[in-house]
Amino acid sequence: MKYRVVVILAVWASLLAGRAGAHHSFAATYFEDKTQTIEGTIVQFMFRNPHSFVHVEAPDDNGQMQRWAVEWAATAQLKESGVDYESLKPGDHVIVTGNPGRTASDHRLRMQSVERPKDGWKWSGTVR
């Protein structure tokens, strides 16, 4: 019963709440039903609009090093969840999980979670 109330409230809130719209469609950009995890080193963190990006050097499934583009949220949404432009820095070793992009050669993920083992810093959420 409690679960049902929570679900109803969540749906209701999603219908009523105004949102900052994205410029692209996530369903058209990523395989939303798949996840992929990479582990590597941050080479760039772009805290920006329309969406932030974290570039991570990490191996692909073949062991080849790639520059992964991990798409994150817009600045306002990240600030709301406690992330700012200093939260991540080049050189940070991170573990990132996300939805893989539909274009394999882009080496792209939609951020679902990021963890920095060195100090235990973590973020997880839904990028809109």
Binding site: I38, S105, D106, R128
Partner: protein, 316 residues
């Protein structure tokens, strides 16, 4: 003799009516001023996370637009020239909080123009109310176009032309610069409804009509939305991600996912109407396509063009 006082009274009444009719507006103009919160009751999924690949149902597109949609890749948004494009006037009301205000002539007190601003990318529109004509066809086209408005009772009707080529859906379906947009702004208490009717001789066979609701939100304050162009995905200059004809591997994916036939997902005016439901019952359910490998996996792509292998084509 008795007729003269009556005639004088009648003349006085007519004069009084004439005076009142010139002193007051012909009808009460509705005030749209203030902040409005987007309400996403209609088409929620499409307006939130966005439509799926090749999901064209309910749209009066022609074959040319279907091909535009089939050849489109979402990676196009990462190209620098595309990163900070604001939603055009006919698409923007899908999202975002809305703020409206008017310019009033200090002498006549007439409303010269209405303005709208949306929170996402902060695009500002001007709707001219002073009767000025639209510019000639060769005049500059912009994302917000050129708009004029007039009152039809309590409804503000707006005509917009001179829009840059953009899209009718965020999955590649195009809308041309030849399109004309008619909007109706209707206020019922604290609810504002904007009805948008898009006609496009290039890509639409019938008008595309949609309505979007907003709720008065006096506590809302518009925030800046600076957008910066950066290298989101490192790719050669001039590369435009796309699928060649017949090479898009996702065409039946949305239809199969929702257990519906492929034909309605391909769009067209007939898919807008209730009677099309009967035809859908006679069609086979779409099958899920074999998906190309996700990024970073070892499997090779199904075909070079199918997964956006770099290809150089001139940008439209």
């Amino acid at each position: 003799m008795n007729g003269r006082p009556r005639a004088r009274r009648l003349a006085a009444a007519v004069a009084a009516c004439a005076l009142v009719s010139t002193a007051a507006p012909a009808f009460a103009q509705v005030d749209f001023s203030g902040a409005w919160g987007a309400r996403l009751h209609e088409d929620n999924l499409e307006r939130g996370g966005g439509p799926e690949m090749n999901e064209f149902e309910g749209l009066p597109i022609n074959a040319a637009d279907r091909m535009r949609g089939d050849s489109w890749s979402a990676s196009l948004w990462t190209v620098p020239e595309h990163q900070c494009i604001p939603h055009p006037a006919d698409y923007g009301p899908n999202f975002s909080q809305l703020v409206m205000w008017s310019d009033v002539d200090p002498v006549t007190k007439d409303v010269v123009a209405w303005h709208t601003e949306l929170s996402w990318m902060n695009p500002v529109r001007t709707i001219w109310m002073d009767g000025r004509p639209h510019p000639p066809a060769w005049a500059p086209h912009t994302w917000q176009g050129f708009s004029t408005g007039k009152w039809e009772g309590d409804m503000l009707t707006v005509e917009t032309t001179h829009l840059k080529p953009a899209y009718v859906r965020r999955n590649g379906l195009a809308r041309s610069e030849k399109a004309a947009v008619r909007e109706h702004f209707i206020r019922n208490g604290d609810i504002l409804t904007i009805v948008t009717i898009v006609t496009d001789p290039v890509y639409l066979t019938e008008p595309y009509i949609k309505s979007r609701n907003f709720q008065f939100d006096p506590g809302y304050r518009m925030t800046p939305y600076p957008c910066s162009v950066d290298v989101e995905i490192d790719r050669p200059a001039g590369e435009i991600p796309h699928y060649l004809p017949g090479a898009n591997p996702f065409i039946s994916e949305a239809a199969a996912k929702h257990k519906m036939p492929l034909e309605p997902a391909r769009g067209g005016a007939e898919t807008m109407y209730p009677e099309y439901m009967e035809r859908m019952k006679t069609l086979p359910t779409a099958t899920m396509p074999a998906q190309p490998a996700a990024a970073g996996t070892a499997a090779p792509p199904a075909s070079p063009a199918a997964v956006g292998t770099p290809a150089r084509t001139p940008e439209r």
